[in-house]
Amino acid sequence: MKIAVCIKQIMDPEISPRDFKIDADAKNAVLGKNPLVISTFDENALEVALQYVEKNSGEITVFTYGVAKSEDALRKALAMKADNAVLLESTKEAGWDSYQTGKVLAEGLKKHGPFDLVFFGRQAGDSDAGIVGAVVAEELGLPLVSFVTTINQKDDKVFFDRVTDEGRERVEASPPLAVTVTNDEGNTPRIPKVKDIMMANRKQISKESVGELPASDFMEIISLDIPSSDVVCEFLDGNEPADKVNRLVEKLKESKVL
């Protein structure tokens, strides 16, 4: 199988709200001293691809569309044991329009493909849109299997376990396909070994310039704010655990939930 995994470098989505600042005029988050990471679900996607290749066979190429420093995300993916990496390099941070991102990725995938399986995280941890996988599927004319957690192969049939609002289900589908991945207990991303990090630093990354994209035809961001909360927590104190519990039970009775 020839496999592609599309990843995005973002500001660490796990930083505490205290370290999260925005530039309301530029309508963007301010990176400051916060780390850049591979968007979480993209790492899950790479993990699912790696597990598939370990059990069966295949070659994995990671793709990213981003500015020069996105190379770090590709290096990490190589350290996790992806085989090849392609940087579709832009001179400017990507905007909010996922169509544009998807189209750039689709072009890159066409040039280096065709691929049997093209993986994405279900959504990026900054734009939280969940659109790019679908754009690429449409651009490449591929069916899409979404919210996948695990892939298994029996003879020439490929089975995808996925999560829906109703629970888990198993899907049978024939490649070529696009796949979006969601997290479960079985696809927590591996932590690369020191030796593999060193190897990854020496690997060749294919870089292709995509220049600067025009303004979006579909959308324009008009404001960005940090929502404020007006909830004031009432702390239920007491000397003994039983005192705290009794106070909580009283409160719950007052609010009629009990």
């Binding site: 500001m11 989505p13 169509y99 069916p143 519990v245 939930v257």
Partner: protein, 319 residues
């Protein structure tokens, strides 16, 4: 006049409940015409009487949800009309189909929308970004916009009259990719029982619970309260509970009367799933944890100490 089209699904004959949230959201617009595209099998359009819906485009005969055939069926339904705004629920079906139909039709696309309004310049939608740490407003620059609404962000529409709806049957034959992606079986999972989305009381655990075994404390409390157990992503990723119990922006969006968060720090991505909860109680050893800026009542203590006492006390008074 803005033509708003809401898309509903009825794989088992009953229209999905979130369709009525879409209609509720559409009703806040002035000067609109409201239509429904309904895809499924043996669809009972009488359910739509009384909500101000003018016309229903029915694509019938698809008994079980299969992504490719449902996608093509919705597209067929949309072909029959000219919409300004197409609303879908951002549930697992909507998030799968919405982007693809927008792209095929060349429409603009907004996902996880919590508010929308018509302005002089056009449609403006509000959506959380950066995992809910911020909220952005986007102006639609395209002609038609597909909008995926975050489940439970809008109240369901109320029935207001008995005016009949016009019904147009759309004929559709499955083809194309339909056979390439086939759902073959539902997999059994732990945590069956009341669906989290419908639960009145939820006891949810996070990384602070510490182990798979310790989730039994939460199960006992939930049992006494007649509620369900949920979890944060960290508890899922640790392998302590199934991913189907994940609550949050990328898990279930819930709206219980009571939400008890145990050993959960209160990341915005988690709290996005509980913003519709009526009462939130947090039990956490760290008085500085962000969860306390969302909780109505807080206990700063080790849950190992609090939960057994709480369960015992509730068993006493509830039995």
């Amino acid at each position: 006049m803005t033509h708003i089209v809401t898309v509903g699904f009825a794989s088992d004959g009953k229209l999905n409940k979130s369709l009525f949230e879409l209609i509720g959201a559409a009703k806040s617009f002035e000067n609109t015409e409201l239509s429904v595209v309904a895809v499924g099998s043996t669809i009972d359009t009488n359910e739509l009487v009384g909500y101000g819906v003018k016309k229903v485009y029915v694509v019938d005969g698809l008994s079980e949800y299969q992504p490719e055939s449902y996608l093509n069926a919705v597209l067929k339904g949309l072909d029959a009309l000219k919409a300004d705004i197409i609303l879908l629920s951002g549930d697992s079906i909507g998030r799968e189909l919405g982007p693809r139909l927008a792209i095929r039709k060349g429409f603009s696309l907004f996902s996880d929308v919590i508010k929308l309004k018509e302005t002089n310049q056009g449609l403006v939608v509000t959506k959380p970004v950066y995992g809910g740490k911020a909220e952005a407003e986007f102006l639609n620059k395209g002609e038609t916009a597909v909008v995926l609404l975050r489940p439970k962000a809008h109240d369901k529409a109320l029935k207001s009259d008995d005016v009949a709806v016009e019904i147009e049957k759309v004929t559709f034959e499955a083809s194309g990719f339909d056979g390439l992606v086939r759902i073959i079986e539902k997999l059994k999972d732990e945590g069956e029982g009341v669906k989290l989305e419908d639960a009145k009381i939820i006891v949810a655990g996070g990384r602070g619970v510490g182990s798979k075994e310790n989730f039994s404390y939460l199960e006992e409390l939930a049992l006494v309260l007649g509620g369900s157990v949920g979890a944060s992503r960290a508890a899922v990723d640790a392998g302590w509970v199934s991913t189907t119990l994940q609550i949050g922006q990328t898990g279930s969006i819930v709206a219980p009367d009571l939400y008890i968060a145990v050993g959960i720090s209160g990341a915005t991505q988690h709290m996005a799933g509980v913003s519709a909860a009526k009462h939130i109680v947090a039990i956490n050893t760290d008085a500085e944890a962000p969860i306390f800026s969302f909780a109505e009542y807080g206990i700063v203590d080790d849950y190992n100490v609090i939960l057994p006492v709480l369960t015992e006390k509730l068993r006493e008074i509830l039995s």
